[in-house]
């Protein structure tokens, strides 16, 4: 009997410790989820174009990449486009461009093909109507509106993390469509990454791409995407196959100009943050001091609501502060957050505000509101998207929940650089 006593004691001790651990786990709120069931969507079939999307990179006033998928391989893939609405009468469109890149998405067994057509020399602030064609299959007419290139007032959406709750994602896509339809001044969606749970899994991407169709308005207007890479796409070639190598294959960092006075630096937290990327960031911020609004978009947060700080804090925050960035949009935490303005790792009205944490279709965590940077900030737990409104006088970020309610509003003024 005595020989078993130590083991019994061990088990009692570990169970006791485990009970202590369970009892010290903080109470959590129940995430408020959308969960509205949408129509089933299996994805593309045959050679018919589907999963259409517009991707914006550096110069959305003049360039756009229109992409789509086909289930089967196709020979001829074209975009027919015009600045006039032609109701899908394909021969009438003035311009035609062949997809510069087509191929099969990298996957073991799942078959799906991508097609990317880059449109260049576009006119700013102009509606472009287009039909997609793969062999003899054509879509209805869609359109998108290029960004302005002047000091114009404008709006865009920001959000991230659409990876693990398909119904939640579809709900948020419908919410974005409603926002987009109600407010045509919205230009695009700046995405903070983590589109899917496993970025090498084309079945998951297939669902995501199909769900993205829900953001297209009834009139056929597409919501262009400005993508950033998340940790669930880290190192996965499929990301570049989907987003047409935006920011350079594997690098995926670049700046996007909305008009002449709004600059978004899109960064990649999944590669070296301190090397060439930090040099590029510093150079970009340094040579553009006169741009009124300077924003950053990247995935893993410097000032997280639940997790530990990412490499962004080490390498980019000092540059954000040095060059007086206005707002850094962050994802990854699956919560809602807005920090106090931060400089030198403490509250400072002249500092940078960090907003986001990702809620485009993922279960929401309970944030840690006790962290010092949330005093006078805001945290929450619900699917959400940020609507950013930029004028010459103010930059306003509204956090809009899946049900359309405004959860939080933050406003910044232009700063001296």
């Amino acid at each position: 009997m005595n020989r078993y006593l130590p083991h019994v004691a061990v088990i009692v001790l570990m169970l006791g410790a485990a009970v202590v651990g369970m009892m010290t786990a903080p109470a959590t709120s129940v995430a408020e989820e959308g969960g509205v069931a949408g129509a089933g969507a299996a994805g593309p079939a045959g050679k018919a174009p589907a999963q259409w999307r517009v991707t914006w990179g550096e110069n959305p006033a003049r360039e756009a990449t229109i992409s789509w998928s086909t289930k089967e391989a196709t020979e001829v893939n074209t975009v027919h486009y015009d600045t006039r609405a032609l109701k899908g009468d394909v021969p009438s469109y003035k311009h035609k461009v062949q997809a510069q890149t087509s191929g099969r998405y990298t996957a073991k067994s799942f078959r799906l093909h991508y097609h990317h057509a880059k449109l260049e020399k576009l006119e700013p602030n102009t509606a472009y109507y287009f039909c997609l064609g793969s062999d003899d299959n054509f879509t209805r007419e869609f359109f998108f509106i290029t960004a302005p290139d002047t000091d114009a007032d404008l709006k865009f959406l920001y959000g991230g993390d659409s990876r693990s709750d398909r119904e939640g994602r579809r709900t948020m896509n419908r919410r974005m469509r409603e926002l987009f339809e109600a407010d045509p001044a919205i230009l695009c969606l700046v995405h903070g990454g983590d589109y899917v749970a496993d970025g090498s899994n084309m079945e998951q991407w297939n669902d995501w791409l199909t769900d993205h169709e829900l953001t297209v308005t009834t009139a056929g207007r597409m919501l262009p995407v400005v993508p950033a890479r998340g940790n669930h796409e880290a190192g996965d070639v499929q990301y570049d196959e989907i987003w047409a190598d935006t920011g350079g294959r594997g690098k995926n960092y670049y700046k996007t100009m909305f008009g002449s006075q709004v600059m978004v630096v899109n960064l990649n937290t999944e590669i070296s943050a301190g090397g060439d990327q930090a040099k590029w960031l510093e150079e970009t911020l340094k040579v553009n001091p006169k741009i009124r609004w300077q924003l950053a978009n990247y995935h893993r947060p410097a000032y997280p609501a639940v997790k530990e700080p990412s490499v962004a804090k080490q390498h980019w925050v000092p540059l954000f502060e040095k060059y007086n960035l206005d707002v850094a949009f962050e994802s990854d935490g699956h919560t809602i957050k807005r920090t106090v303005a931060i400089r030198g790792d403490k509250p400072d009205a002249t500092g940078v505000t960090y907003i986001g944490e990702g809620g485009l279709g993922v279960k929401q965590r309970t944030p840690d509101p006790e962290r010092w940077y949330f005093k006078d900030g805001k945290t929450g737990s619900a699917s959400h998207v940020q609507k950013v409104t930029v004028t010459k006088e103010t930059l306003t970020v509204e956090t809009i929940l899946h049900n359309g309610k405004v959860f939080d509003t933050w406003q910044g003024k232009p700063r001296t650089r």
């Binding site: 088990i11 369970m22 010290t24 999944e270 070296s272 090397g275």
Partner: protein
């Protein structure tokens, strides 16, 4: 226990494992573990229940620390090793950057308490104990070596921070080249530690490198990263234990 070297080796392994368990528990209690993520996101558990299990695991790891120093408490250490295996598998299931590397990366922290338990059970550092340690060190170095060869961004940043600390101009190309060499050396060490001959030079190199790379976490990101450093102490302690065990023993005259 007949040899003072063996005693020193065992205590080295015990202390290294204890520090590792402290680091792991602190990290989980501070920021959660992949087990939480897996239970909550993949298994669809309620958040509070997944958190409770996660914290229970962390507290159980802390409770296992005294057992490292109690000769007959091997069952608790095996349970701790099992939990750490689950953490590694959850990391692989929910992780992002080459997730299949996670179980190899975590091998030392998983197998160190198991080796202490085996040692306690068998009352000597015999072949099964030593092979447990060898496999632990080999897998950890192989995992990190492959990550270095694949050019893991975080490792590039570590290399850049070392260059900066040494007063050299940080260069990403140079850092990537350095990392390639590190990867080759790590994989070579992983293979060398498995050869039947007891290569003490390899073991001491692995211990030194394991210790330095663990300390690199706080050097790179500051003292707040102490759990990250502590949880990697097994990467140093495991090969150091082998080094001590493999010390030539004085011949006993008849």
């Amino acid at each position: 226990m007949t040899n003072s070297n063996d005693k020193l080796a065992l205590n080295t392994l015990r202390v290294g494992t204890a520090l590792t368990l402290v680091g792991l528990a602190a990290s989980v209690l501070g920021f959660g573990s992949p087990v939480f993520t897996w239970l909550w996101l993949e298994a669809d558990w309620p958040e509070h229940r997944a958190l409770a299990v996660d914290r229970a695991g962390a507290c159980a790891l802390l409770a296992a620390i005294p057992m490292l120093f109690v000769p007959r408490a091997w069952l608790g250490l095996k349970l701790a090793a099992l939990w750490l295996l689950l953490v590694a598998l959850a990391t692989a299931a929910t992780g992002s950057w080459y997730p299949w590397l996670a179980p190899a990366d975590h091998a030392s922290r998983i197998l160190a308490p198991l080796a202490v338990a085996l040692w306690a059970q068998r009352r000597s550092a015999d072949a099964p104990v030593q092979w447990t340690l060898r496999v632990a060190a080999a897998l950890t170095f192989a995992g990190h070596g492959v990550a270095a060869l694949l050019g893991r961004g975080l490792f590039v940043d570590y290399a850049l921070s070392v260059m900066f600390g040494l007063g050299a101009e940080p260069s990403q190309i140079l850092a990537e080249r350095m990392l390639f060499v590190v990867g080759i050396v790590d994989v070579a060490c992983a293979l060398a530690i498995l050869v039947p001959a007891r290569l003490r030079a390899v073991a001491i190199w692995m211990a030194a490198w394991g210790g330095m790379t663990a300390l690199l976490r706080v050097y790179y990101a500051g003292w707040t990263q102490w759990p990250e450093t502590l949880m990697r102490m097994a990467n140093c302690a495991v090969p150091l234990t082998l080094f001590l065990l493999w010390k030539p023993r004085p011949e006993v005259s008849p």
